[in-house]
Symmetry: none
Subunit: 256 residues, 2 copies
Amino acid sequence: MDTRSPPVESGVAPVIVLVRPQLAENIGATARAMANCALTQLRLVAPRDGWPNPKAVPMAAGATDILEQAKVYESLRDALVDIDRAWATSARSRNLTKRVVTARGAAAAIRTAAAADERCAVVFGPERTGLETDEVVACHELIEIPLDPSFASLNLAQAVLLVAYEWFQTEAVPRVAEVRDPGRQPATLGQIHDFLDHFEAQLDDAGFFRHAQMKPAMMTNLKSFVLRAEPTDQEIRTLHGVITVLSGRRRHQLGE
Amino acid sequence: MDTRSPPVESGVAPVIVLVRPQLAENIGATARAMANCALTQLRLVAPRDGWPNPKAVPMAAGATDILEQAKVYESLRDALVDIDRAWATSARSRNLTKRVVTARGAAAAIRTAAAADERCAVVFGPERTGLETDEVVACHELIEIPLDPSFASLNLAQAVLLVAYEWFQTEAVPRVAEVRDPGRQPATLGQIHDFLDHFEAQLDDAGFFRHAQMKPAMMTNLKSFVLRAEPTDQEIRTLHGVITVLSGRRRHQLGE
């Protein structure tokens, strides 16, 4: 997977800000989700049960660096003082004239801003209530994650995960990656066609095509099937062996 | 948010399959993540602590319909018997020649397949170990979610969330057109696995596996090859005939 992972430079990744988080377990799970997506900087605004909190550790699943380096602030304003661009997150619509973007749209904007050396942050509210309207207003834009409107309430760490994931997908990750076993050597068409000749000869020999007029359509299907699988050269060798063994013992018994 | 939510039709959403899930809490959290993204069908293969399990309910955060309608199976094979296309999920690379896609790539493919009335499933392994190689082989393709390779271990429900989220972000109109034979009916996994049993039995009978220790790797390659081709039901019938005729005449000549 190394070839697909984007180069992560310190400074370009957004800061995650949790405002008045209630459960330390959710702070731990947030750290884990951040680590999954190569985010490192966590800021906590007035965590309900204080900080540090040992209850956060098990849920972090090893992302303890993030917990240890988390910074604590008294207010959202303090937490954002050195930030150039901030996105608030919200599960519900607000009566605000505010630019609203999807998580994917925000991720692209964060990459663009970071490329211009702007420091970015994404702000998440408390588990039960979400951000206050004033807190949303204090950020530049609003992220609404597109979800089923009849069941849009996300766990805090899952909301962080989706934003972090979208950020991680924006660079160097091919949209439709196709990764193959590094040992895979695709068979050449010469190898494939040789195999298909062998296959057809053995089917003829075994009387597979009971009616001559069936043969073209059946061979077309079988060839399509084999080519669609994009066989490796190893597989072609195995398939030769399969055909030889299945029919060869027959031939051997006939004394051919 | 109503204007941005895609139209979700029943039947097109993929089935989520959890193989040997250990913690009922994670089954509940999975149901919540599914509900966030308008998925409804959950299948459980041999859940460790049995099913139903009251410990799943609090983590479902109201997605109890999904828990109540979850179906339980003894084996992955049983759970996939009526499925046309299945994606396995894995956090680690495998020595398999298997098409590997991102969660986003899989989401697009699921939309395309569903538009052709194909039943899709995404399969997740147990929390600690992930899917066995045989279970990955039993599916058509493999999803690897692009994450920081130095911290790629996702909580089970978060892995489900990312796949479900990507599915929900795709529009009902498929992005990537895939040209299909209009008469093409994909074989179900039940049909494919029955064929693979027949194939293996005939190879055994013909003495194909000269050394017993070669057999698992060779069968893994052959199974990967067949599944990669995504055979139609017509092709599976033809392949049964191929195997029967190639080995049957041998048997006939032997007077068996």
